[in-house]
Structures are given as structure tokens and as C-alpha cells.
Subunit: 516 residues, 2 copies
Amino acid sequence: MSQLVKSNRSNRRGQSRSQKRENLSGAVQIIPGVRREIPTYELLSDEGLDLIEQNAALILKEVGVEFRGDPDALKLWRAAGADVKGERVRFEEGLVQSIIARSGRRSFIQHARNPKRSVELGGNNVVFAPAYGMPFVHDLDAGRRYGTLTDFQNLIKLTYASRWLHHSGGTICEPVDQPVNKRHLDMVYAHLRFSDKPFMGSVTTPERAEDSIEMARIVFGREFVDKNCVIMGNINMNSPLVYDRAMSGSLRAYARANQCPVVVPFILGGATGPVSMVAAVAQSLVEVMVGVALGQLERPGSPAVFGNFLTSVNLKSGSPTFGTPEPALGSFAAAQLARRIGLPLRCSGAFTSSKLPDAQAMQESVTSLYTALLCGANFILHAAGWLEGALTIGYEKLVLDADYLGAAHTFLKGLPVNFDKLALDAFKEVGPGGHFFGCAHTLAHYETAFHESELSDTNSFENWMDAGQLDSAQRANRYWKEVLDLYEPPPLDIAIDEELQAFMTNRKKNMPDIWY
Amino acid sequence: MSQLVKSNRSNRRGQSRSQKRENLSGAVQIIPGVRREIPTYELLSDEGLDLIEQNAALILKEVGVEFRGDPDALKLWRAAGADVKGERVRFEEGLVQSIIARSGRRSFIQHARNPKRSVELGGNNVVFAPAYGMPFVHDLDAGRRYGTLTDFQNLIKLTYASRWLHHSGGTICEPVDQPVNKRHLDMVYAHLRFSDKPFMGSVTTPERAEDSIEMARIVFGREFVDKNCVIMGNINMNSPLVYDRAMSGSLRAYARANQCPVVVPFILGGATGPVSMVAAVAQSLVEVMVGVALGQLERPGSPAVFGNFLTSVNLKSGSPTFGTPEPALGSFAAAQLARRIGLPLRCSGAFTSSKLPDAQAMQESVTSLYTALLCGANFILHAAGWLEGALTIGYEKLVLDADYLGAAHTFLKGLPVNFDKLALDAFKEVGPGGHFFGCAHTLAHYETAFHESELSDTNSFENWMDAGQLDSAQRANRYWKEVLDLYEPPPLDIAIDEELQAFMTNRKKNMPDIWY
């Protein structure tokens, strides 16, 4: 077989720039999400799920949720029949569920500016997006430092170039060199200019959410945006049981525009939630349902994603921990509950506490990501790049995780059983003690038989030595530089680009810089 | 909370040697296997499993299996009604299944010389054992080199010291400095002298298998051994569809002594099996069932383990690949088939192609090990230490994997749902916007709420910097040295030790050294 096909290595020599890009880049091969053909993993029994739902109903009724600084939200809740006292809202059994059941959507399309990259959220569809919200960036050369707009753009380019990341994400890192009140414009512009994949806008204030949506309108057209989802906002609520104005206001801004809030609790067991994962799952259910229902009150039928973010805490040091077994179990349970409600699910990601793209990083990240694949998540944010408990995104980590997502594509396709796959003739041809390398079945299938990683080294020890004895992070370091070097932006209509820039310039002109 | 309990770090200062051992070592805390309280993952439908079984039946009937150089095996098959032509044996539908069903055991105890460490194989029990069969060893200081008897003993000591490894394994590395025909004696002695966990003997010839069993008889008593399983032999058959004399003879030696053969195909898709995983699973079923049935013909009612070892091949280079998605899927299917037969299952492990304990190593190893946990494996050989496609065992890799097995213990316990776990009072006490650190539920549970890794760093970036900016392999390097330094052997009766040594001396004296 080794004579039949030249190795990747020798193939790469003498390639044209476009051939190289084709090998490295998803700009050529478009994969708009992947369908999960394997069953979900059902951890809890129906009885267990019932108990969690009953507990959630008691929390909704007896403890309630606070909406702080958002009188419009309180008004909507009052009109819907909730019990509103001050900023505290309590909910009779079944109220939020019935609001969601009445108008919540089981699945929807998020349109990309390149229609081939539009993704479906819900059902058996799985969409991978990179890490979100990190103030720091890391690479092997410069180590860890605050993220800049250049980092932001680089990371969007790397995400664009990976065929395995279907979605451009949102705040892939905080561009800390830009004013706090203006950087959302630069971020949304970077997604629209340097990628043509679907993306997420700002949520840090309702006004910035509206700016983000307005920029999407420039690209997609006002009318199209009113009827279709083209942008998401990641609404991280203030667990436990609080929505502040920034979050509920931004949530309502997305819903009002018929765009998609991803409603996500932020539960660190023992800190912003109980130390018991089962209780944290009930809390998660309460917090998400209330947020999703608020979106439906703002605009019935608007899209929404059921988010889940659970983790544990090292109770000796108080540090959050990631990729540990308890949140994996919790994610399975939360996913089962999300399926009962019937909303698209965001769950888990490539989580780790590690500061480096090392063994620990991948022990934790793969635990977390494998869980996401099996629990039935539809939208896997943080699927690539995450380091240090969401404080850092790593260049090497991003491409290593994205490479793993390639394997995940194969995994999600499952194991079809049919006559050709059973290959009885191959056994007859080869017989006891024979070799399958040259048999007809192998020759017919070898090119597509197995997924091949671009970054894992499967060479002999001697070849690996000759190639410089690199560990996988060092290979990833070479890889992302090669990808950035070959990057070419997707086309964008000049008039639209100018309109986007004019909008930004105008918005920036009218605000003084704020740096905190 | 951080005031309530001192960190691990400060606790460790000023500890006595025995306190340090208690923290580091499983010699104090004995965990004889772990029960899986979570459901298995059922990848294939009954129809899919039926098709694979039908294909296996056709392979058994039309292609058959060869037993080379083992006339006694052919005699047993002839007597059992199989179709024997030369060394080829073909099986009418249902023959091997009925032999297994008649006398195969659904579960059994493997006794350890310390009765507290005896393990149950089968049912929902899970037993973790270290890597097996590697000619090379690796550590960060000395790099990769051939294994020696000192390495063998060190690795057995590290395995003994890990509370998460229930089993001492077998050929943890090849002690290449010992003659090929004598090293099995040194290996079995090391398991018996430096550990008191259950272990595996030699399989490289039937005579060495018998030597291994004879040494077990010295320790456990001849009569006890005849009635109870105290030693296993890992029978790697010569896939496709061949047992040579070394393997079928050793298999029969273990069965004859009422000891346990672990019957394992060695299927590299595209080389020793077809490129289609579904077909490889059918092949696996054929090869294992024939081996297990042969053991039952040799001695009805003897214990056996259904083994499964599938992997893929990089069809460009011909290198085997590990921790990839296809064998993960294949393992789920093979495990479903093993459950239909009702035998204890050995499946998967911490597989990787990586030469180093790096990100790649753990991307692949965790994929493979997580699969083993969910597929329902009872005996997970290669659960710790594996590097470079089974060519190398790593000191750092061993302790990093073993640490991950700690998390696996928590994962396997699942998520019980009950009144206390639901913690409704905690929500009432804390309320919206509160903090769970100090609430009654947290105070009652914080010490046991979350599994804590010994090797993962969850500190702040600043604390991690102060501690030397070590990656996880570097921390593992410090850790295994500390464990070896604190190692103390379990007690062994002096008379028994002398008898073991006399047996070895005598056997060695009567053979010239063989080095190939």
C-alpha cells in the first residue's frame, strides 16, 4: 500500500499555493455541520429525569428568578401571569414550559453570508464553534498575553480555514487593545470580513447587541434578517437565578430581531450552584427555561438554543475545574432534559484547566468533548482553543482541537452494517493467515476507509526522530503558521464592506472611548 | 472555603513518610475493582448485531480457523464435531456458541495473594490493568530505550502504588536484558514479590505458561489453584483466523489448570483484518469464540475473558493508528456482541501512536479509554502507560493515565438522583444572586463532592508560574520518582519467597540462555 500512494510529506513538496491551501483549508471543502447518526447516551432513567423536573418546578415556584434593572422584562412576565414581587419573579408549575411549547422552535437554520455554510441547529445536527470570551491568548512562541484585535482576526482566520469548524463563534478572544464600548464593532466586522461562516454578535449591553444585529442587516438585508436567523448572541446568565439588564436586555434584543439567543447558565458547582451535580442540572433547567420563555414573550416563534454549562470546583483552593467526571455526567442529564423540551442544545466543549496544550489539556478536553458528542449537543461552542478555565485561547490548542473534530465527524457517522461493509468475500479471498493489504475489498475502500488526522504523528519512531522529534504542540505551532500564511479571505462585496466600515466609523465617532 | 482546608501543597510539607505514602499510594487505600453504575452505550440496533452474527457464522462455516502445529487442539475439535481438514477447522452454525453456553462462566473471581485485592470479572465490574507487552520504555529524563528487569520492577511498583490500578497486569515491559526463555520467571516473580495485586503470566510458549502457573501454585497452594482463578494469560491470536501452537497451546495450558485465558484477536483494519470495522468486528467474534470454546473443550467450566482489540491503519504509510474513531465505534459493537454471549469483556485501553506523553497521546488515549468505560468492558488492559502503538510504555504516561482512572472511578458511579442530592434547601437558603460556598449543603458535602486529580493543575496562572510552569508530563516526572522513593513492598512469607526463588534457580539452571 505504501507504494500505491505517496506520503503526505512527499506530496506536499512542489505543491502550488492553491494545492497547499486545498490540503490545509476548509475554504475549499465546505462542511456545513455534521449529522449525528449514532444514538445519544441516556444516562438517567425517566424516573430520575422526572425528579429533577419536579425539583426545577419547586425552584421556579418557591425561589424564583430575579430580573435586575430590566422593568420591560418584569412587564412581560406580569402580562404572562407570573408572580412578580419587586424584581423577583416566581412561576406556577407549567407556566414557562407552556410558553416555550407554544412558540419555541425545535430546529432552525442559522444563515451564513455564504449560503453553502448555513447550518441547521436542532434535530440530529451538530455544529462546532471555537472557544468564546477569553481575555488571554497563548502560543508556544510568545506565551500567554492579553488578546488583541490582531489575535482576534488571526483566530477567526484559523477557524475559517478549518473544515471541521462549521461556525466562526463570537468573542473568540477579547481584543483588549480596543475600547470596551467599541470592540464589538471590530469583532463583528472581523467575522464578516475574514470569514463567511455563521457567527455570534455582542451581548455585553443591549445596545451592543443591536449594533451587532444592525451590521448583520447591512450584509443580509433588513427584510431577510427579520425573517431568518443570521446571528446568535451567547447569553451567559448571572447564576444563581439572576438575569441582570445586560443579559436579559441583550436576550430580548436578539429575540426582538428574530435572532437567536443561546441561553446559558454559568454554574460552578459549590460556587454559583450547589456541589451536587443533580441539583446543578435542575438549576440549569430553571435558568434556561426562564430565559428561553422570556425570548418567546418578547417575540413568539423567535429561535433559541438551550444552553448548558456545568463545572466543578476544587473545594480546597476554590478554583473551578474542567473536563472532570461530574460535569460530564451532568451534561448527559441536562441533554436528556433538553430533549424533553425539544429545543436545540448547546452543551460542553473542549474544556480544561491547563495553561498549556499538554497532556492534561487533552485528558480534560477530550473527556468534555466526547461527552458533548454522545449527549446529543447540537451546537458545541468552545469546541476548539480553550485553555486555563476559559481565561485563555491557544493557537496550538485551537488547531489541535479542530483536528480532533475531524475525527469526531467520522465518529458521529457511526457504523453502518450492510453487505459491502461485512466484506465476506474478503475473508474468503484472504483466508487464515493471509493479509488484507492487497485484497479487492481493501483496494476498493482504502482511500476512504479511515479518517486521517493532520496533526497526529503515526510514523515509526525513526521517521519521527528524523522529522525533528516534535511533540504535538510543536507540530501544531508549525501548522497554524502555515495556515495563516496561506490564508485568503472569502470574497465580500465592496459596497457592503464600505457600508460596514461607514457604520463602524459613525458609531465609534459618537462615543468616547471606555476602557473598563 | 480556601480558609477551611489547607491546600495539598502546604499539607505535604512536614509529613511523615507514612503520611506521604498514604497520600500517594494505593498500598493504603485498597480498591478491588469498581462497579459500573452507569448504563452501557448501545451503538448498534439488534438488527445490526444480528447481521454481524450471521456474517460470523458464515466465516466460521465457510472459511474456518487454522490451528497450526497443535494436533491436540485438532483432536479436541474433531471430538466436538467440527469439520477438520488438515489444520483447518470449520464450524457448523451454533457449534462454538453451544460449547460456550454449556460451560462458559459469566463471571468469576481472580484471586490476589492479598485477598482484599481479589477482583471480580464480569457483570458490572470494571478492573483496570496497566499496559502490556512493550519492548521499549520511556521517561522524560532518559528518553526511549529497551526495557530492562529494573524497569519491569519499577513499573510494577508504580502500578502497585496506584489506588486506581486494580491489577498488576502482565508483561508490563519486555525485560530485554534477560534471556528470552527465562525472563517469564523474573516477570512472574516481580508481580508476586513487588505487588500483591492479581496478575498475568507468560503465554509465549505452553511451557512458560505452565511455569507461570506453577509459581502461582507455590504462592496460592496447588489445591486452591485447581479450584480458583489466580492467574490470567493474555492469548493474542495470529489474526486473521489462525492460532499457532504457542497461542493455542498456552490457551489450553491456562484452561487445563482452571486458570483464565484472555482471548484476544489482533486486528489492524486493512492488515490483519478488513478495512471495514463492521467486518473486523465479525472477525473478532469468530476468533474469540473459537478460542474460548477451545478452552471449554480442554476443561469445561474454566474461566475465560472475551477479548477485543481493534485498530485502524494509516493506509498511506501502512502504520497502525490508535485512539481513532473507527476502533472506538468497533469497540462499542464488539462489546454488545460480548454481552449477547455473556462472557466477561476485555476491551480497549489508553491507546495512542504518540511517542511522548503529549497532547496527541491524550487525545487518542482518552478517546480510547472513555470508549472502554461506556462500552461496558470488565477488564481494561493497557489502561495506563501505553505509548507508540504498544512499542513503548512511559513512566510519565503510566501515572498520568492512572490519575485519569481516578476520574473514571467517579464517572462510573454515575449520578444518583435523590432528595439530598437535589438540595432544594440550598436554593432556598442561597436564593438568587447568592453564593453556595458557605451554605449548609456545601459544608456537609464539600470534602467528597468532587473527584480531585493528583496531577492536573487547577491553580491560578500566577500560582502555576510560581510552581515552575511545569507541563503535566513534567509534573508526572516528579510524581513517579516520589512514588518510587516512598515505595515499600507488601509482605511476603519468607518460606514462600525462598521456594519461588528456588523454583526459578532450578528452571534457569536447566536451560541454556536463548536471546532471540
